[in-house]
Amino acid sequence: MPLDMMSDIPDEALLERFARGDAAAARALTMRLTPQVMAHAYRLLGNHAEAEDVSQEAMLRLWKIAPEWRRGEARITTWLYRVVANLCVDRLRRIQGESLESVPEPQDERKGPAETLQGAERAQALQVALGHLPARQRQAIVLRDLEGLANPEVAEIMETSVEAVESLLARGRRGLVADLAGRREELGFGDA
């Protein structure tokens, strides 16, 4: 079946097709899920190369679990967010030893006039500030404020209560505001 005809098929149904040997289902799932997985991994790690490795490993785990996947038990994206978060925590532990409270500074790969870079620089500054947050606060902020998930779904992914998510979000946002306060003027927020 052509890829564009698979756009209406739910993730779970595609995974079942993959488990039955349908190669086109693998392509459709890869195209659909990898961007989300990659974005999430980068926001948690702040490093593109590491995020790519995590994305590949997370997708590999999805392929392997396909024959045992039980439809209706969990959404595939929820499961993937959880796997990515666990892989990122493991990777950060390996990179930084015992400390989980900081991540590598994001690579500054862009150069150019300040005006055109302001959005990118803000994104970069936010990534650095996210890296200074405790891991759980960072994960909650990324899922809620960057991935755009609702609080109950964030709670399900993080295996905690909605109230705990709200608390993590409030503390995380306060931490970000405090961290970014010193950079507001240079990032074009002098009047805010």
């Binding site: 993959f18 693998a26 960057l146």
Partner: protein, 126 residues
């Protein structure tokens, strides 16, 4: 923090979030190729799919397990086939047997008694 300060902070923070959402980089073609290669490798190790498309491990396996395994299912299938055959073929032997009991004639009451039975009849023992 005063309410207006908090409002300003939320507004500024949202601008950062918006910038980060737009800054999302697409996965590289090399990464996509690696993921697809993994998928092909893993898929090659799966049991061959049935021609009917029914996956072993789904409903059929659960049904078979519920009935006691493949030997029990085979016995059940044989019993079903036999029952169907009896019902469909209307065997002549069965019809004759049933007719005999439905409309008994005198032959049914003829009893071949043993030689000693005559004495016992005389003595009123039978």
């Amino acid at each position: 923090m005063r309410e207006t300060d908090k409002h300003n902070a939320d507004r500024v923070l949202e601008t950062y979030f918006e910038a980060a959402r737009k800054d999302c980089r697409a996965p590289s073609s090399e990464l996509m190729a690696r993921i697809l290669a993994d998928a092909a490798d893993v898929q090659a190790g799966f049991p061959v799919a049935r021609a009917s498309g029914v996956r072993v491990g789904g409903f059929v396996r659960q049904l078979v397990q519920g009935l006691g395994g493949w030997p029990a299912v085979a016995g059940l299938a044989a019993a079903v086939v036999t029952g169907l055959w009896i019902g469909m073929s209307q065997s002549s032997a069965l019809i004759a047997y049933a007719t005999t009991y439905d409309e008994p004639d005198e032959a049914l009451y003829l009893v071949d008694l043993s030689a000693d039975a005559l004495f016992e009849l005389d003595e009123g023992a039978l």
